[in-house]
Amino acid sequence: MLREGDFRIPSGCAISGIVHRKGRAMSGESIIRSIALMHDRSNGLGGGFAAYGIYPEFRDCFALHLFFDGQGARKDTEEYFSRYFVTEMSGPIPTRKNAFIKNAPLIWRYFVRPKPEFLSAGEKSANDFMVERVMEINGMAGGAHVFSSGKNMGAFKGVGYAEDIGDFYRLDEYRGHIWTAHGRFPTNTPGWWGGAHPFTLLDWSVVHNGEISSYDANRRFLEMYDYQCTLQTDTEVIAYIFDLLVRRHGLSVDIAAAVVAPPFWSEIDRMPPDKKEMYRAARIVYSSLLINGPFSIILGSSRGILALNDRIKLRPLTAAEKGDFLYVASEESAIREICPQPDRVWMPRGGELVWGLLAGSALADSGACPEEINGTA
């Protein structure tokens, strides 16, 4: 049988996310409780988390999280790293024995910087360079898989129920100001840890509930822009779409949302001229990036989270606020489990963005790309 990643598996899911807009750090306990409440939305075949702000001591390094099939793959990869990177620190990611987590691969992390000679010509940004390296390693099928590559953030995922994965990775010991989580219900036998959510690229992380019926149209378009969809998962495609639109093409997240979940033409036709021109152009130019089919996603970045439904809301998504906290989850109960009395609870409409940005973040209004923010961090 083909390994997951060699073919495509649709799945259902639970998602949850928390952000403190003023950047107050919290441990992973809350997000684990929230996702654990939605235990029945997953089937024990995949769970994972993304956490931001967890590596302040290495905030200028790219934190690479990797799965290895064995020590040979690790040595080969480290040799590859030594060609391109200066490694500040590395080691196995600490885990704790959990009765329900079995067959874990080798899980390591590396805090690296690209060697300056590769960037000196000024043709390539550090981010572009990292994207190329991640694509290269994941495309080599050499038994190594990069599942997290951002700065001061990390993904933690594997095969199991989300709450067990959280326990396994000792997330209660990390402190971050943004957390997202995912419990997976794949419709096929997995067995590969790389198939769990979140999917990440640089600082982007995506947890996703849904199946993308436009997958192959999206994938084949992205491949023209040098993304290699090695995992054959819907979610991977979402991460690359936002990377292309926001980081590489410099569009605002509003426009990116209008590309992946655009208003219907009947609505665009009725917009005031300026707005109409923008929505029309975005839809025409990026028609192949419309994400069709049911989805609710939480997109994490170093500047906050965004939650978004497909344009006819075929998957659940609820949002709530309490003070500086913003919560989003597949079910309201998963929010009330950790925040019993929110100030406001609402169900976003199809295609309507839910913003959970850190105070002072430029993501919302200028459309500046994360690269610039990272550069000044």
Binding site: R8, P10, S11, G12, T187, G210, E211, S213, S214, Y215, D216, A217, R220, F221, E223, M224, Y225, H249, G250, L251, I255, P262, F264, W265, S266, D274, E277, M278, A281, A282, I284, V285, Y286, S287, S288, L290, N292, G293, P294, R311, I312, L314, G367
Partner: protein, 499 residues
């Protein structure tokens, strides 16, 4: 020692019900029937029958039936009747065999070997009666990225053809078809917000009001081309080749060049209109680029330029060259495409099926990262809405139809267009035959066909869990193949059913 003219069809007349009313005599465009003045009964010359069905359908008594002539020739599995007849006919005449319309050969239909997907459980299907379902289609060059000005407004896009469904009427010239046929297609295109195509017939003065729905073709004969013509349409199509006869030009016999055709094509009355096989100013791709940009200059870069080619072996590389030569849209015409007249051997043996050509072109343009530079329109053998859906899933932006459109207008596919004696008023310039096609009724029927297909496309899209056509474009995971070799699957870029 000729073989004489052999009847291909047997006409059965039920003597009980026939009243000898002579309607068949008046309706037959080929002079099959005659009233015998002595017996006051109608007799038939079966050898003249082309099986256009006109008499059968107009007989008020239902007394007529036309069947294939039985055992008129001995044949075996290798030497078919058609082969024997062809040899006999050529031994008589010493000439090239001609045929009309398309699709006669027995090569496999890959459309019929591909099956579509539908959503079950993990992904809800979408009901087009309850939810919006979008088929709006834009044909034209797309920029690599959305460029914004300093105020954040989008910079202007290259010109786009905006259609409400991904189906256009393919090129059919006034001359090869009647003016009523062109009027019917133009009006249907207008009512359904798509386009029809002038072929190389020029633009009749009555058709200028349909400009927004007109694609003006420029072919090797340059018939009817002047600046008013170029500016009249929504897009300009340079015709390099045609699926029914790749590598061959066209020939409209002088007897079809009456007053209107002469004026519209800007050629002398009664003269043969010969379109050479190559354009006399295009001997390579760099020459094509000059013509593309000449036309863009002439129309101030306001209209997309289409380049139409026949699907031939090297179609992917040719398409890549055309994209780089500045075309905004490439139309690929497969070997099952129709025609008013083509040499039989060319139609049956030159060119490749549109399914394979389209898949190869789409894959190649993506591999080169230039798929966005051009839109792809696939034609040549699109019979119904499922063919449309499959073509788009393979990678087309839209499809061209012509044979299906003519069948909607009344064509019975007798394939004798080249005789100019079309019994249904379509492929003829004979006034009493032309008037058999009512342009308004034809427009209604062609528009109905488009609307019916639109409903069906929406149903199939919804079944796949898709509510915007662009999400199907190039989405080959929605296709699976049956009864194909690994190589065929590889060229199509699809998996086998069950995989």
């Amino acid at each position: 020692m000729g073989f004489g003219k052999r009847a291909l069809y047997a006409i059965e007349r039920d003597s009980e019900s026939c009243t000898h009313c002579r309607i068949c005599v008046r309706q037959c465009a080929n002079g099959v029937y005659r009233l015998n003045p002595n017996t006051a009964k109608v007799t038939s010359d079966e050898a003249a029958c082309v099986n256009c069905r006109r008499c059968v359908e107009f007989c008020p008594a239902g007394a007529l039936a036309i069947r294939p002539a039985l055992a008129e020739t001995i044949s075996n599995s290798f030497w078919t009747r058609q082969d024997l007849r062809a040899i006999q006919s050529q031994a008589d005449s010493g000439g090239i065999l001609l045929v009309g319309m398309g699709g006669g050969s027995s090569i496999p239909s890959y459309f019929d070997r591909m099956l579509l997907n539908a959503s079950q459980v993990t992904n809800p299907s979408i009901d087009p009666l309850r939810e919006p379902m979008e088929l709006r289609t834009f044909l034209g060059r797309k920029p690599v990225r959305l460029e914004l000005d300093e105020k954040g407004r989008p910079l202007g896009l290259p010109p786009q053809l905006e259609l409400e469904l991904p189906v256009l009427f393919s090129a059919m010239s006034f001359g090869s078809v009647s003016l009523n046929t062109v009027k019917a297609l133009a009006a249907a295109a207008q009512s359904e917000q798509t386009c029809y195509n002038t072929g190389e017939g020029g633009l009749h003065r009555d058709l200028y009001p349909f400009g927004k729905n007109t694609i003006c073709q420029v072919a090797s004969g340059r018939f009817g081309v002047d600046i008013d013509y170029l500016n009249a349409g929504a897009a300009i199509e340079i015709k390099i080749g045609q699926g029914a006869k790749p590598g061959i030009g066209g020939h409209l016999p002088g007897e079809k060049v009456g007053d209107d055709v002469s004026e519209t094509r800007m050629i002398p009355l009664g003269s043969d209109a010969i379109s050479p096989a190559p354009h006399h100013d295009i001997y390579s791709i760099e020459d094509l680029r000059q013509l593309v940009f000449s036309l863009k200059e002439a129309t101030v870069y306001a209209k997309p330029i289409i380049v139409k080619i026949a699907a031939v072996h090297n179609v992917a590389a040719i398409a890549s060259g055309i994209a780089r030569a500045g075309a905004d849209i490439i139309a690929i015409d497969g070997c099952r495409g129709g025609t008013g007249a083509a040499p039989l051997r060319t139609r049956e043996h030159v060119g490749i099926p549109i399914e394979l050509a389209l898949a190869a072109v789409d894959s190649r343009l993506r591999a080169e990262g230039i798929r966005g530079e051009v839109s792809l329109v696939a034609g040549g053998g699109i019979r119904h809405s499922a063919d449309v859906v499959k073509a788009i899933a393979l990678g087309a932006d839209a499809v061209y139809i012509a044979t299906s459109a003519l069948i909607a207008l009344g064509c019975r596919l007798c394939q004798k267009c080249y005789t100019g004696r079309c019994g249904w008023g379509i492929a003829t310039q004979v006034p009493e035959l032309v008037q058999r096609l009512d342009a308004e009724e034809g427009a209604r029927r062609a528009a109905n066909l488009l609307r019916a297909w639109k409903h069906e496309i929406k149903e199939m899209l919804g079944g796949m869990g898709i509510n915007a056509l662009e999400s199907l474009r190039g989405n080959r995971l929605m296709l699976r193949g049956v009864g194909m070799s690994d190589n065929e699957l590889r060229v199509l870029g699809i998996r086998a059913a069950g995989e």
